[in-house]
Amino acid sequence: MLEIKQLHAVAGDQEILRGIDLRVRAGEVHAIMGPNGSGKSTLAHVLSGRPSVEVTRGEVRYQGHDLLAMEAEKRATAGIFLAFQYPVEIPGVSNLYFLKAALNAIRKRRGESELDAIDFLSLAREKMKLVEMDEKLMQRAVNEGFSGGEKKRNEILQMAILEPALAILDETDSGLDIDALRTVAGGVNALRGPERSFIVITHYQRLLEHIVPDYVHVLAGGRIARSGGKELALELEQRGYAWLEKEAAAG
């Protein structure tokens, strides 16, 4: 589904990614861990097409296409979804309206019929149950005045409605209390399936107790310093990142 080769990227005037290689097959869940500033969020932004991050070298193939040549909205249409670490507020635009516009923009580009208000509302209601989201939040402006937990739930709700093929979760666990974490993880697990892949970016092993990954990668200094199974996360929890950073610097 996704193949990243020797990816280098610059944000601002700093080279953040320095040669990432990663392969994600359909149905797999990959966790990406690593210390602050190791390039986790930059990787998420490169994959989802943020214009302010510039790819200087490397290649990304997604479902056989050259992903880097596609604009952000085309990538969304092709099934890439990013759950933002810091979801953005859009004053005056209702959450429901925003989601309907997003879903219909994608459906239209795919040549599918657009959903009318009634069909959309019943779809949204069904998905709201999944993340235990209050319907009142749907009438409010996008993320405006939402608590940290509500914003993250809203991201998972959007994911549930847009049904992506590849979902990237950028520190979705940060700022969540344990109940919210469980709800969010439950929402993600409900969406797991043989055709859908996940890249889960997190600092902590805690999230991975709820969303059990097939692979864990550790990012340090803009490269993948180590890959392994879910047990690698536990090892990191015990030993920290410092030893890996040293290794990366030496290599």
Partner: protein, 483 residues
Amino acid sequence: MAEATKDLERLTKREYKYGFVTDIEAEEFPKGLSEEVVRLISAKKSEPAWLLDWRLKAYRRFCEQLAGDEEPTWAKVRYPKIDYQNMYYYAAPKRKLESLDEVDPELLRTYEKLGIPLAEQKHLAGVAVDAVFDSISVATTYKAELEKLGILFGSFSEAVQKHPDLVRKYLGSVVPYSDNFFATLNSAVFSDGSFAYIPPGVRCPMELSTYFRINAQATGQFERTLIIADEGAYVSYLEGCTAPMRDESQLHAAVVELVALDDAGIKYSTVQNWYPGDENGVGGIYNFVTKRGKCQGRRSKISWTQVETGSSITWKYPSCILLGDNSVGEFYSVALTTNHQQADTGTKMIHIGKNTRSTILSKGISAGHGENTYRGLVRIQRKAAGARNYSQCDSLLLGSQCAAHTFPYLEVQNRNATVEHEATTSRIGEDQLFYCRQRGISQEDAVSMIVNGFCKEVLRELPMEFAVEAQKLLGVSLEGSVG
């Protein structure tokens, strides 16, 4: 990236949709301003002596102002000096019209192109239209139906002939001929406009609407609108405007006067889309307009809603004089400036009566090299005990070359009054746009969505069908303005 830039370039160069010129035989008076021209206009319309006198007084006052170089300079707008002798003050389609059937088919096609079919049977239910083409009113729809209710609606010239007493009583009662430079010019040379009178206790069953169109070259448009809501009456009125694309700028100096008696209400909505000039700031309409309403009666209410997207320069302050006790004034505004457009707009709320209330909600959007200024005055006079005002002025910036300014003036002379003012400035950020695009919404649609969200509180004050038009207009005007 290069592809995206090309797209943006193509979209920025998108044509002004209403920029066409109608090829129609027009009658124009000699170029320039003179007593002769003023007399000619008045004679052309067979005006009574008192009206000619009024025009001449205004003309003389204007000559003094011109000689004294009194053209106002306090607004935050820049433009080359206007040569008042180098334009036409009157232009009209040559054929004299008695009814809609006689309207030149070319003219009808013009209005069709603008999306304003004048033929009554095809017209949107519930909107009566008066169409003003260059200097004269060409057609008024639904007239007979309105007359059954005693509502008078039609061109100003016609009102002068048919209802001279009403016109004489109220003309200049809100905006005197000596009010300001541009209002004085208008008073001398105004050619036509709309007139509406709603009799006591009548609630006008449909929206009254005027569409203004400047067609002729090098012609100023000076229309004058007068709306009177008698005791307990209510009317909702909408004005729309467009003009052809021309390289030289054209002057539009209109005056609107509203009078609301006891318990009367007037809702006045404008969607202003005069030609804004090209992307280099060449051409466009200079829109110097005086709009003012007088809440003369107790518990009367005047509400202004404006969506200003056109004109190269907008200079306009729709205001309310809150004379009657417990009267209410409202001002809801969206002003958008892009390319090299400049807008200096806002309102004046003059609280004179007791317990008068006013609300000001202004949303300014600047893109490209646009300059957007909110200028507002809230004055609470000595006797206005219990007066209340709430003002909110928000600015939204797109890009780094544009500017937004806010000048709120407060004059409070009564201690028993409440005045609140809030202001914010924000920018459409890369993060907002990326968030939308990541969800599949294109950049253009994202900008339009964010801007419409920003303006929502104002747009919902517009009558339904015009709200939809205004939303589209905001989207189209901004296409390609974010790079």
